[in-house]
Amino acid sequence: MTIATDVPSPCSLDARLSSDGAVLTISIWGRLDTYTTGRLCREALEKLLQSKPTHLVIDASGIVYCDGAGIAFLLSLQQRLTSTGGDVTIRGLHEEFRRLLEVYGSVSIEPAAGRHRESFSLIERIGQATLGTWQELRMLVAFVGELAVTFLHAARHPRVIRWRDAWVTAERAGIDALPITALLGFLLGLILAFQSAIPMSRFGAEIFIANVVGVSMLREMGPLMTAIVLAGRSGSAFAAELGTMKVREEIDALTTMGLDPVRFLVLPRLLAVVTMAPFLAVFANLFGLMGGALAMRSLGFPLVTFVNQVLTAVKVGDLVGGLCKTFVYGIVVAGIGCLRGLQTGSDGSAVGQSTTSAMVSGIVLIGIVEAIFSIVFYALGL
């Protein structure tokens, strides 16, 4: 509402209670707009609560300006009184503002804003969570199946793979990730060496720090750290990329063009990550050993001693086993990143949710795969 006025006066209120306490008269002066109504609203409601009248008279003749907030204020007083069986008379309201009152009409005040949230018992919540996990698992299995079928088809017809996309993704997920992987590998080797130095020194067995670093890096830490770097860099990036495409209906466009999104988008990314992951793990291992070597050097052992000790401790099976794990981690990270991207909803925040979910799910699945490998390796005596 925009009634032009030059009166800059703030609004004010005067409340008078009748002798029998049944009638409360509120007189209002000045501008009743979005910025001035808040204080007045609190004052008026306070008076109402104190006096509990059965009849409210609002003298509005002093109002020089009134907008939607002012009308909301008048309506809220009216509704508060009528809800308790009282009634309201508005006197002297300028014709322009009375028309505004009619335009907005009566709108009921509902106590709660926001979406209605049902409350569930603990059992119901456990049931819902179980159902959600089951559905999630089914979806994952279906996606793995679809991916396997597409992969087998692509293996028979390599020309259907978009090699250009795979190459570009390999560069981003592999070569670009090299510095961070090398740095983390180096630090991890250094940390492992220094952490094991204290207990080893108690037994005069510092020489075996090289064994700890070598075996840990090649079997577990190198592949695991590579997988986490991949989940953080590439898995979340895939989810964001595909999620944005989903929001922009590009994936729908692919489908309507008869192009399978899994073949077109997922397969190149999966191949790129699966190919690059073992290479990254080799670099992580190498730099981890360098970190360990530096730590050993600082403890007074020559480099040749470290190398000889590592060579005696580490078997080819440790390296191969670690690289096998990395290969599987690559499938998990790329697959879950792409799946979360394809599952993205249609609103703006959905891409963010998919990205977070890709990262979290990726790390959880890496943990599960790691546990499975540990059991299998133990059973095989590796």
């Binding site: 509402m1 925009t2 009634i3 032009a4 707009d33 979005t34 910025y35 109504t37 808040g38 204080r39 609203c41 609190r42 409601l45 907008d67 939607g68 907030a69 009308i71 909301a72 204020f73 309506l75 809220s76 028309r99 505004l100 335009v103 907005y104 009409g105 709108v107 005040i109 509902e110 106590p111 804003a113 926001g114 979406r115 209605h116 909803g345 249609s346 609103d347 703006g348 925040s349 959905a350």
Partner: protein, 260 residues
């Protein structure tokens, strides 16, 4: 005949504005006034600078030269509290609605009230519901924007733009992407708001049915000369303009522009 207007009725005064992107001028030295209470149209073909002009008028971009006075205050040079005061007095509906996807409709409309006023929560809810009722969306207050149709999103965007009772509402392509019935409903809503709330509307559009229905006065921009090529009531421009491009626009005739 259009009623006589006086200088003190001017609510927006655009003076000699040259604007564009990256040193490429899209509009050059244009001036016009918008009067209180009118529905004003900015027309032109694609690329003529309609949306660019609108973005400069709402202070998103700075023009290369010129002044844009809103209520007599220059939005180009205003800073700090002065600029905030000008911006509080205007509401904008963007082409795609630009509703916040993570909030319900009620929360979208409440947001400006929460940020700029000290109203009690109940009063904010009531105002938000009033605005949504005004645009016919009161039953959907608890829905998320993604759950609404395009037309409903645009109406909700108008409700949010009106949350602080601005005196001026800028609408960027309100009919774009809507079917004719929804578009006509939106036109009806704009007319009703203009008549009942006396809001001044600045509408960027090139939808002819909407122009004839809602717009009181227009300016027409032409990308070839980068200037205003016509000003007036749309029906008059359609029937009396001698400018070939203006006639082509209103009569949707490709041959006219070349004088054919």
């Amino acid at each position: 005949m259009a009623p006589e207007r006086t200088r003190d009725q001017i609510i927006i005064d655009v003076q000699h504005v040259t604007a564009g992107y990256d040193s490429v001028a899209v509009i050059e030295d244009i001036s016009f006034e918008i009067y209180r209470g009118e529905v004003f149209g900015i027309l032109g073909g694609s690329g003529s600078g309609k949306s660019t002009l609108l973005k400069h008028m709402i202070g998103l971009y700075q023009p290369v030269t010129g002044r844009i006075l809103i209520h007599g205050e220059d939005i180009v040079t205003a800073e700090g509290e002065e600029r905030t005061k000008i911006l509080r007095g205007i509401g904008v509906m963007y082409q795609m609605g630009a509703l916040f996807g993570s909030m319900t409709l009620l929360e979208n409309v409440r947001l400006p009230l929460e940020e700029y006023t000290d109203l009690p929560p109940d009063a904010m809810n009531l105002i938000a519901r009033m605005k949504l009722k005004l645009v016919g969306l009161e039953p959907f207050v608890d829905l998320m924007p993604a759950e609404l149709s395009g037309g409903m999103q645009k109406r909700a965007a108008i409700a949010r733009a009106m949350a602080l009772d601005p005196q001026i509402l800028f609408l960027d392509e309100p009919s774009a992407g809507l079917d004719p019935i929804t578009s006509a409903e939106l036109d009806k809503l704009i007319l009703s708001l203009a008549a009942n709330l006396r809001v001044t509307f600045v509408v960027v559009t090139h939808e002819l049915p909407s122009i004839y229905t809602i717009v009181d006065r227009v300016i027409m921009l032409d990308e070839r000369v980068k200037k205003i090529v016509a000003t007036g009531r749309p029906q008059e421009l359609r029937d009396r303009s001698t400018n070939p491009w203006v006639r082509q626009f209103f009569h949707r005739d490709v041959a006219m522009a070349s004088g054919g």
